[in-house]
């Protein structure tokens, strides 16, 4: 299970429903084949309590990416760090939530699929493992919501699945599960360890346009906390911010319009 919390500014000490739903689906899949679930998240040191909750819910191992760089723009995209850890861990199915982001707007599931060169099924609502006995052709089958209908889709492993199901069972973890989670591995990955890991050959196409709209919207109004006011940003404003970002990143020197 993958998610990035560095973009969030809330200080809650419990997992929200979306994250719980993803964890529950992962554990459900694990129980189908007696497998193992590793949860990977990006955030700060205090987010370890969220990973502890994931362990209490039934995950087997938890890894937290906690880079120390004070300037967010100097950190690599979260998906890049996660890709390194996923390669280290080994994987069959990579599950993430539909709204889980890498940075402000990029979708984690899509970026991971790109970096790992895997197929991705998105908007999935339930998963089932099949044909695992046949090691040559293991499959995962999911229902994908398409309008008001559900289509059934299958994929060979490994693959990335982005879940659209937010209906967590919302169960209370018991004290026994909480105390049992203390025996499970919870590792924090800092800059030095992450920089020492080998990345794959994939490259993420960073989404300047979405970030530009966000930055322009924030600049227009200090009160805006979310960045959904697309209608209020003109194309000219968005282009201006995109060019500025590209120049700052030394990708271009300038554009004559």
């Amino acid at each position: 299970m993958i998610e990035d919390r560095r973009a969030r500014d809330d200080d809650q000490t419990h997992l929200d429903n979306e994250k719980k739903a993803v964890i529950e689906q992962a554990i459900d899949l694990k129980n189908q084949e007696n497998d193992m679930v590793t949860v990977i998240a990006a955030g700060c040191d205090t987010d370890r309590v969220l990973l502890r909750e994931a362990l209490a819910m039934g995950c087997d191992r938890a890894w937290l990416i906690a880079r120390n760089s004070p300037d967010v723009s100097q950190k690599p995209p979260v998906s890049v760090d996660m890709e390194k850890l996923i390669r280290l861990n080994g994987y069959d199915v990579i599950l993430t939530g539909y709204r889980m982001k890498s940075g402000l707007f990029s979708f984690l599931g899509a970026e991971l699929a790109e970096l790992l060169s895997l197929g991705q099924m998105s908007c999935a609502s339930k998963l089932e493992r099949k044909n695992i006995c046949s090691k040559e052709n293991p499959l995962v089958i999911t229902d994908i919501r398409y309008g008001n209908e559900f289509l059934q889709m299958e994929s060979t492993l490994p693959c990335v699945v982005t879940l659209a199901n937010y209906a967590s069972k919302n169960e209370i973890v018991s004290v026994a599960e909480i105390l049992g989670s203390l025996k499970k591995e919870l590792m924090i990955w800092k800059d030095k360890e992450l920089d020492g890991l080998k990345a794959g050959d994939g490259r993420v196409q960073e989404n300047y346009f979405s970030d530009a709209i966000t930055i322009a919207a924030l600049q227009k109004s200090e009160k805006r906390k979310d960045c959904a006011f697309y209608d209020e940003i003109s194309v000219e404003e968005a282009v201006e911010v995109i060019i500025e970002n590209l120049c700052q990143q030394n990708i271009i020197e300038g554009i004559c319009l």
Binding site: E53, I172, S174, V175, L179
Partner: protein, 381 residues
């Protein structure tokens, strides 16, 4: 370097208790205050979640956790229903704590597993009509006859008395020795002939907690049910009251926090003279004072819990925590009713129930005057 942070385990246990309180306990709290029904099924639910006996060893049905996690759970319960919270605390500390500390293995195995599972409840029977603060003058007798003790007398104001399965009873085996004749016993309330529930109290607050009289009339129990040594009953009881004080302090803190949170939300919504009432400086400043007081009381409570957890003498700190948190509960609930105006006085807002519930916290488990005796005695020893 002092570390004020809760551990991950403590945060998660607190969150589990909070979730249970918000999703399962809160609904019906107002109604239970009117009907005075105690929800035994929720005790069972807490047992299933492992929230009873958090701090006790696994071999007795506990979870092997720490004491602060248990205190955090009490606070969360009492934010929404302090009657339920105190019933839980008395069963888990007043009764089970006494058994853990002073009973033998057979006695522990007889009752602790079912208490921790939520299948049974316990009570602590010390107080009598003529023996409240002066607990040493208790007159209930336990006369040895062969291989039995025969108990006669009346205990009153016993929290959980009307519903408990087990009782930690303090009775006198030798009246000539006065308080030094007091001895502790384990009594199965529902299966022992000669013990019955008498008058069930009609109270101002904590109305769904079943506080009752226990009447012993030639009640026979085997001598194997004597706890610890003969004549040490008062010492055992006073030791347990120290731990019980931490539970009542947590109750007071929960009441204060619950009332504060309710008033805070109300004050953000309620508009008078064109603005939310929280924008009136006097009210905002009073809320700032109250939040500061709540945090101070919380630190005192956690310090007392830390001392107990680390096997340090904690009676003095427990007395301070009880005094501070229960006075806080009374002050904060009173203010919050006031700040919420007419609405605060009505049942629907729940804060009037918290106001009524708060008063008893200054009285039971040792009145606040007794706490001051303990604290001042320590200052001037």
């Amino acid at each position: 370097m002092m570390d004020f942070a809760l551990t991950e385990q403590q945060i998660l246990i607190r969150n589990a208790a909070r979730k249970f309180a918000e999703e399962e306990l809160k609904e019906g709290a107002q109604e239970r205050d009117i009907t005075e029904e105690f929800p035994l099924h929720l005790i069972k639910r807490m047992g299933d979640l492992g929230l009873i006996g958090i701090q006790y060893p696994k071999e007795y049905g506990g979870q092997g956790g720490d004491y602060l996690s248990y205190v955090l759970a009490i606070e969360e319960l009492c934010k929404v229903d302090s009657a339920f919270g105190i019933a839980y605390s008395i069963s888990t500390t007043g009764f089970a704590g006494a058994i853990m500390l002073f009973a033998n293995e057979e006695q522990k195995m007889h009752c602790l597993p079912s208490i921790c599972k939520g299948d049974a409840m316990g009570c602590f029977a010390l107080t009598e009509p003529e023996a409240g603060s002066d607990a040493g003058s208790a007159k209930t007798t336990a006369e040895r006859k062969g291989d039995k003790f025969v108990i006669n007398g009346t205990k009153h104001f016993i929290t959980n008395g009307a519903i408990a399965d087990y009782c930690f009873l303090v009775a006198n085996t030798d009246l000539s020795k006065g308080s030094k004749g007091l001895t502790a016993f384990l009594v199965d309330l529902k299966t022992t002939p000669g013990v019955r529930v008498g008058h069930i109290e009609n109270k101002c607050g904590i109305r769904s907690a079943k506080v009752a009289e226990l009447i012993f009339e030639n009640c026979e129990i085997p001598t194997s049910r004597m706890i610890g040594e003969e004549g040490k009953g008062l010492r055992y009881a006073l030791t347990i009251l120290n731990a019980g004080r931490i539970g009542v302090a947590a109750q007071g803190l929960g009441l204060a926090q619950g009332a504060f949170d309710t008033a805070k939300e109300y004050m953000k919504e309620r508009k008078q003279f064109g603005k939310p009432i929280c924008q009136n400086q006097y009210l905002a400043f009073r809320m700032a004072d109250m939040e500061t007081d709540i945090d101070m009381a919380r630190l005192l409570l956690y310090k007392a819990t830390w001392e107990q957890q680390n096997d340090m003498p904690f009676a003095n700190m427990a007395a301070k925590a009880k005094l501070a948190c229960t006075n806080l509960a009374m002050n904060v609930t009173t203010e919050c009713v006031q700040f919420m105006g007419g609405s605060g006085y009505m049942r629907e807002q729940n804060v009037e129930r918290m106001f009524r519930d708060a008063k008893i916290t200054q009285i039971y488990e040792g009145t606040n005057e007794i706490q001051r005796l303990i604290i001042s005695g320590n200052i001037f020893k």
